[in-house]
Symmetry: C2
Subunit: 369 residues, 2 copies
């Protein structure tokens, strides 16, 4: 995935101040709002005439990723991007991040540099300044906690709670692919453990793997919507799975929702792979999570403006709160939408075989407040 570097410098050889100096050198400042980046007690940000958006997300080894198959550079990239995604989901622009990292001394300096290279790559790609953070030792797992600040015009911010009855429910891109990527990686890991001579078979899986290992967030969708002069009435990013996010929007907006199974955007590769794993593609789409697509509602009057945008699917509509949230299946059956807690997934983590049989809703193990 990336060129592995052959040097190995022990962290102790640099000392921690040396390490910080090394990972924070050549970090450019791109936003005029960044008055002071790395190097003081706090970053200083000028957000005059805008509101400031703040969010925070973490990735933990053994919970959110497995270093057996997760390249460190990708990990850094993903840690940054999933935070940017929260700011885009408010219809804002991420501008600064801080990164807290805790590593055990089994990591070499070069490994930590790979993580920061990934973070920096994401920052460059999304025009965000890396402005500080904290580094520490960790007794066991690698721990990455990122906070992001963004900005938006006050009247442009889109909350979770603005959906109205009859609003159209829309989602960008396709769903379930990141989860399929994870299942493939887990399968190859198990195969490798069973027989280390077998090389992992990842051919033809680029799309699904990239969705898991190097997700992007949908800044482009916000641009498209602005150009179409559509402001969503509510919005959220799909990190925990579509079902869970729909329930957030309806609960916060005090509406119900009808979601149509036939409208779910599922990539051909996702469908094919889900079937291989004996999982209904709809379950992957509803509960896979980590898609980092944008789920939003628009007023019906905006239908004409978005109906021909290929990157956006209309998957349902909001109803009155008494009707609650429902899935209308291919055969017209109506079933309540449900989202399970992290317990379900923890159970799956311990028992990977169960994944193949799982037919109910699943969710990721971390939740935003």
């Amino acid at each position: 995935m990336y060129n592995k570097r052959s040097e190995r410098t022990e962290i102790s050889a640099l000392g921690e101040f040396g390490l910080i100096k090394r990972i924070t050198k050549d970090i450019p400042v791109k936003n005029t709002s960044t008055i002071k980046g790395i190097g003081d007690d706090a970053a200083v940000i000028d957000n005059t005439n805008k509101v400031t958006l703040l969010s925070s997300d973490m990735l933990i080894e053994g919970v959110n990723f497995d270093l057996v198959y997760f390249p460190l550079k990708h990990l850094g990239y993903k840690a940054a991007v999933i935070n940017f995604s929260d700011i885009f989901a408010m219809n804002g622009q991420p501008t600064q991040i801080t990164v807290n990292i805790a590593v055990s001394n089994r990591f070499a300096v070069e490994a930590i540099e790979e993580i920061y290279a990934g973070i920096q790559l994401a920052c460059n790609h999304y025009n965000v300044d890396f402005v500080g953070g904290d580094t520490s030792t960790s007794p066991h797992s690698l721990f990455l906690s990122v906070s992001v600040v963004g900005q938006a015009d006050k009247d442009e911010v889109v909350y979770r709670n603005g959906a109205k009855e009859n609003d159209l429910l829309c989602v960008s891109g396709d769903l379930g692919s990141a989860y399929m990527g994870m299942l493939i990686l887990e399968r190859e890991k198990q195969a490798f453990k069973a027989n280390p001579d077998v090389q992992p078979d990842l051919s033809g899986q680029d799309y699904l793997l990239e969705r898991q290992l190097k997700p992007e967030t949908r800044a482009d969708i916000l641009r498209i919507l602005r150009e179409a002069k559509v402001k969503p009435t509510s919005m959220i990013d799909v990190s925990d799975g579509l079902a869970s996010e729909i329930l957030h929007l309806s609960t916060e907006s005090k509406t119900g929702c009808n979601l149509y199974e036939e409208k779910l955007p599922i990539d051909f590769k996702t469908e094919e792979t889900a079937k291989e794993f004996n999982i209904a593609p709809t379950v992957a789409a509803l509960s896979g999570g980590e898609d980092y697509e944008l789920l939003f509602t628009i007023d019906q009057k905006d239908y004409e403006k978005i109906k021909d945008i290929p990157e956006i699917s209309i998957i349902g509509h909001m109803t009155d709160i008494k009707s609650s949230a429902n899935l209308i299946s291919h055969d017209g059956k109506v079933a309540p939408l449900t989202a399970q807690g992290w317990d379900a997934l923890l159970d799956l983590e311990k028992n990977p075989e169960k994944k193949k049989k799982q037919e109910g809703n699943q969710e990721n193990e971390d939740k935003k407040q």
Copy 2:
């Protein structure tokens, strides 16, 4: 330290959404700048006409604290306060925090509630809004990562790099006490391990223990300085130890510094306890860390305004860069000020006996970028 609650609710009994609901209920919003707190993809903050300050710090079980003697409520309090301290060190007012927490399932819901109760207590005390974050499982250690946003008038921000030659070097409060508190707790832990029938002897140690377990940050000093019409030329909070922070100020400001041992503010209890542990009190003050006092420089012309403030000690003055940073000892000897990296402390953690013999500079194991 706090009333231990007798209930034990397993996290699995609530599910994670239930847990979030429980720990985030009744969280008030106190700052008018908090437009949206918990419950969306990002918090929304109105900082019009002010600059936004952003900082981030973490506490990790087994590195920064030991749950054998660290009450969870205090832990939450400290995690919040050490972050506020970074904003005060910029001469700003902390206004919002996000909290990322990762816990293993050996913790009951009540334990997590204790942590959040401590965070909330600190927020109430310092008038800060808790506006979001992320919760996750952790395979091993408890992780607490806090990010803080603050605000300040643009021309009131004090950076690390503003000290000039001949500026006076000042510090608030006293130094080395939090480190002594930690040594006492470690000693009692070892004694308890050796003989569980022996009750810990913590009598008369309230001040040192509180400095370690429930530190406060010096918002009062900023108020005093404003009232005295003194704006520091540079400022930093003492988290890693005085020596390390002085080196930050001089390096960033491109000055040297003379620090006078006889001027170091050391509490009687700190001195007494340091001697018990066979540590020079000066070493405790220089390298103990976690004091969360404010270290700052002022122009010589402001001397009269601060000389009678009991909470502020003038401990030295800045010199030209060629003279570098020096410690002038009681007997007039001049020695270069040095700060070791985390390796030194890690070494000490592994070998507590060495602590008693350690005469060089020591530092905490986490460093701010």
